[in-house]
Symmetry: C2
Subunit: 186 residues, 2 copies
DNA sequence: TTGATTTATAGACAAATGTCCTCTTTGACA
DNA sequence: TGTCAAAGAGGACATTTGTCTATAAATCAA
């Protein structure tokens, strides 16, 4: 799975992907355990093999807001904290028992500083992350609550099946009460 | 101004910046003129020297939503369209008489394919864009309308002075009627 | 200057959404 | 298995926000 992920960038040879794989260490995480805690630095990045993760941040009022979810086949980190080196404003927590492949940020930094291919891949990742966020901005900005839910149903039906509703509501920027209403079709 | 911009990445020599400058062509644009039209491909990127630009997209209902604003000292393009090569979903329009420095996308693509420094700079730009969007997500997701307006007042007071309110309202994802109420302090 | 357009405010009302609370179901686990 | 916590639905009501409309002020072009 991780091989396909790195192949998809279309720049690495089989041998290089062998080497890439060797940088990653397998780790198992139990439900509700935290991979990265708000306020700490992001020193490693994970590739999700199994399970679902949730990223959330805590407002000044203490309320937790769900920023996003991570599914198998994709990278997981507090990307802003990874980029900046500053303490993370997000917490990454497993919603189910999970399995990840972990790589040190220092390894990645070193690779990118010394390899054009890696620099290229990390640029591509940054761009992909940007495009994904733009889509969310469009949604948060112009859609009403029920449209948001329907868009989610269409584009990411797996979200609805696997994730507790109050997290989804928070992700969509609405209250759980209201999401319940929407689901009822009112 | 554009020299400072490229110097800020900390990788280019004075001579290289001379060369970079030579890729850019000056262009004047009148108020309300369009730099990039929704549905067309993004073949050039601009550095804003003077004036304010607005990026907006049109929903299936025909309503225009303001995605962001561009001020002097920063790059302007439909970044998603620039990345993907697909037709832009945004229109870039001058809100005032403006002056920009334009570079061809093909030039930039060629530079990044052949230069580690450029690849590095473009990666950095992508990351900066990501971080800025994340901040907006946080705001759109968890803040109420009046908080959004106050945050805007604090962080980007220049927005409020220079930009018509209905664009600001659209940018914040609220109606102009409501923004007017908020300003009145109700 | 004059007239037209844009910009900002605001009243009245309807619709959307949030808060607080309760109840039922489900699932985890001791 | 029994108990407890988590998850989801929903009633009642308050608040927020949107829509439609009108008006005044500001801006701009002829």
């Amino acid at each position: 799975m991780i091989r396909e992920f790195f192949k998809s960038f279309g720049v690495f040879s089989e041998e290089e992907i062998d080497e890439i794989e060797s940088y990653f260490t397998k780790r198992s995480i139990k439900k509700n355990e935290v991979f990265l805690q708000e306020g700490t630095k992001c020193t490693e990045i994970a590739f999700v093999v199994k399970g679902i993760y949730r990223s959330y941040y805590t407002g000044s009022d203490g309320v937790e807001t769900t920023y996003c979810f991570c599914f198998p086949g994709s990278l997981m980190s507090s990307y802003s904290a990874f980029i900046s080196g500053e303490p993370s404003s997000e917490t990454l927590q497993a919603l189910t028992d999970a399995e990840i492949l972990v790589v040190k940020k220092t390894d990645l930094d070193q690779l990118s500083e010394n390899s054009f291919k890696w620099m290229h891949v990390l640029k591509t990742i940054a761009e992909q992350q940007y495009v994904a966020l733009e889509q969310r901005i469009f949604q948060l900005q112009r859609e009403g609550a029920s449209e948001k839910y329907n868009t989610l149903l269409e584009r990411q039906p797996i979200y609805i099946q696997k994730i507790p509703l109050h997290y989804l509501a928070s992700y969509l920027g609405i209250s759980q009460r209201h999401l319940s209403r929407i689901r009822k079709g009112v």
